[in-house]
């Protein structure tokens, strides 16, 4: 026997219309294409390792929170361009499609430089996908974070620790790698409750131990910006 997890209601309050706005449930044809025919996924790591022995790796998320992504990049040390990007994703259609689209964006043409890749934003991935349902936005955020983790790993392997870019802020949830900065932005975006912040960032879903700290931060930023 375990304790029942359902102890709080998320409904029944008076809320304005539009809490479920966004683009609805349906995926664009581009999302479907990348979901059903994923590009550049890591099929055989042994083969890849033989081809790119210096490949760098980044991983974020966890199967407990419903999304996990791992990214391998091969970088030309001269041009600092990403020659190759492979990935594996555990997650829903938008998570798979986002990672697949990201791999295309990063490697198209002569490949993005590490700095260009770092500048890639989740919005850029979503735009190329033709949009994602509102509740699926976090999927593209995770892919973006995995890419930046892989870039840091490459610099680390090169011994260029000065180029490692630590995410602004402090990691609150090691599983989702959500930082206090992410929570600050979520509050600024109007997420004024734990439920809403979790809906956006998934923070603490698979790692409830960090929830009290998340709640403290929400309170802190609400006071800071809205005086409430």
């Amino acid at each position: 026997m375990i304790n029942p997890p359902t102890t709080t209601s998320t409904q029944g309050d008076v809320t304005g219309a539009g809490t479920q706005t966004g683009k609805g449930w349906f995926y664009t044809d581009t999302v479907k294409d990348h979901f059903f025919h994923p590009k550049n996924f890591m099929d055989d790591e042994a083969v890849y390792r033989a081809q790119f022995p210096d490949a760098a790796v980044g991983m974020v998320g966890s199967p407990a929170c419903g999304d996990a992504m791992k990214i391998w990049i091969a970088v030309d040390p001269e041009t600092r361009r990403i020659k190759d990007l492979k990935w594996k994703t555990f997650g829903c259609a938008s998570a798979i499609a986002s990672t697949s689209m990201m791999s295309v964006i990063v490697t198209e043409g002569e490949g993005k430089t590490l700095e260009e890749a770092r500048a890639l934003r989740p919005q850029d991935i979503m735009e190329r996908l033709g949009g994602l349902p509102a509740r699926k936005v976090h999927c593209s955020v995770l892919g973006d974070k995995a890419l930046r983790a892989a870039i840091n790993d490459w610099y680390r392997k090169q011994g260029e620790t000065e180029n490692i870019e630590i995410e602004h802020g402090r990691v609150i949830d090691p599983e989702t790698k959500v930082t206090d900065h992410d929570i600050e932005e979520a509050v600024l975006d109007g997420c004024d409750t734990l439920e809403k912040v979790q809906a956006k960032l998934k923070v603490g879903i698979g790692n409830p131990a960090c929830v009290p700290e998340v709640e403290n931060l929400i309170r802190f930023y609400k006071e800071k910006y809205f005086g409430a």
Binding site: M1, I2, N3, P4, P5, T6, T7, T8, S9, T10, Q11, G12, Q20, F35, F36, P38, F41, M42, D43, M59, P63, A64, C65, G66, D67, A68, M69, K70, W87, K88, T89, F90, G91, C92, A93, S94, A95, I96, R135, K136, E195, Q198, A199, K202, I205, G206, N207, P208
Partner: protein, 408 residues
């Protein structure tokens, strides 16, 4: 050749039986009257509603006036819960009304209860379930206090199909009431999923309130009922013209009621044969799916609805699998968080003690009238490839221990 569409989501909703549609049709354009009107077309409608009510009541072994038609299962559950709490809180004062429920109830039961709790109107005990999703009758009875006015436990679970020991709970509550010389607590059951498969005889289950809807039994959507045992007071949610003994005002949904009665008659007549047929198909489906490595059956191995198979696959996420199945023409559902309106995966599967990891990879197949042995074989043929494909692009490779215990 076009691919046959295989609909295996009957727990979400069933198609309307053509015989039901046929029975309903005259009530849209010919016998369209308002049962409250005194002219002939109104009287005809009133008579038809009365006959439908009688037909349903007989099959529930209930009095006709115990049947309150509503707008569906969710309304019936809210009416039962709010209605009992608000009609009886004065009787229990100064104690605060207490309600006992289970961890695996449908949201249409849990959410109204949690809302009442949040508003300070009730105290609530949520009784846990075992690894098969079954509540213990003993634990339910042990949770009852002198302030308990309502126990609400579903008859069978919508996600994992586990059948709850309602009759045991009913008998236990009867004994307690007799011993303590009180009418409380009342017993409510949500029988929406059970209706096509289990006997709903209210004298055998000893329930005081029972929720039923038409859209799970090949009837139309938007019509349900609440059985309210004679003598049990329920406060209305909607007030107005005083229809349905003042418990549910609003002009009767006459075609819906006619269709509901027809659908209930049909599933009741076909219940035993259909249950036997689907049990064979379900067991074959489960056997075939469990041949896939790193899979597990969710719910009770035997005490489960004949049409329900819920299986978790490690290392893959349910929504992705459901969409790949859909592309093959197979319609199923998932308890994954990604496919629901909440963030957590299914509260039902989590309540059975399964890890978040494994809950995200749960797929539910619910069979129905149209399901054939060929359909089941097709799922069994297609599913291993889908799981394998998704595992190939998944960075996760979990140990089977994730099926054993909650890891968080």
């Amino acid at each position: 050749m076009t691919k046959r569409l295989i609909y295996l989501d009957h727990a979400s909703t069933t198609p309307t039986d053509p015989r039901v549609v046929e029975a309903m049709l005259p009530y849209f354009t010919e016998t369209f009257g308002n049962p409250s009107s005194f002219h002939s077309v109104g009287m005809e409608a009133k008579k038809a509603v009365a006959e439908a009510r009688k037909s349903i009541a007989q099959r529930l072994n209930a009095q006709e006036d115990a049947i309150i038609f509503t707008g569906g299962g969710t309304e019936s559950n809210t009416l039962a819960i709010q209605g009992i709490v608000r009609a009886h809180r004065a009787a229990i004062a100064p104690a605060k009304p207490h309600v006992v429920t289970s961890a695996v109830e449908h949201h249409a039961v849990l959410e109204p209860l949690l809302a009442l709790k949040k508003a300070g109107e009730i105290d609530l005990t949520i009784v846990p379930v075992d690894a098969f999703g079954m509540v213990s009758g003993k634990e339910v009875l042990a949770a009852v206090t002198d302030a308990t006015i309502l126990v609400t436990i579903m008859m069978a679970n919508n996600e994992i199909g586990t059948i709850q020991p309602i009759a045991d709970i009913g008998r236990g509550l009867l004994a307690r009431r007799k011993e303590r010389k009180t009418v409380y607590p009342y017993l409510h059951t949500d029988a929406c999923q059970a209706a096509g498969f289990l006997s709903l005889d209210v004298e055998k289950t000893h329930v005081d309130l029972l929720t039923l809807n038409a859209s799970k039994i090949y009837g139309p959507k938007g019509i349900g009922l609440l059985f309210v045992r004679r003598g049990v007071k329920v406060s209305p949610i909607m007030i107005g013209g005083g229809q349905e003994r003042g418990i549910r005002s609003g002009t009767e949904n006459v075609p819906g009621i006619i269709g509901f009665a027809k659908a209930f008659a049909l599933v009741s007549e076909e219940r035993e044969a259909e249950s036997a047929r689907l049990t064979v198909l379900r067991d074959r489906l489960v056997e075939g799916l469990l041949a896939i490595p790193k899979s597990r059956l969710n719910g009770h191995p035997t005490e489960r609805l004949p049409n329900s198979a819920n299986v978790s696959f490690l290392d893959i996420e349910g929504e992705a699998a459901v969409l790949y199945l859909d592309a093959e023409g197979i319609m199923a559902s998932t308890g994954s968080a990604c496919a629901s309106t909440s963030l957590d995966p299914s509260h039902v599967i989590l309540a059975t003690g399964l890890s978040y990891e494994a809950a995200h990879g749960s797929i539910r197949f619910t069979l129905g009238h149209a399901t054939t042995a060929e359909d089941v074989e097709r799922v069994i043929a297609v599913m291993p490839g889908i799981v394998e494909r998704l595992r190939r692009i998944s960075p996760v490779n979990l140990d089977m221990k994730y099926f054993e215990k909650t890891t968080v």
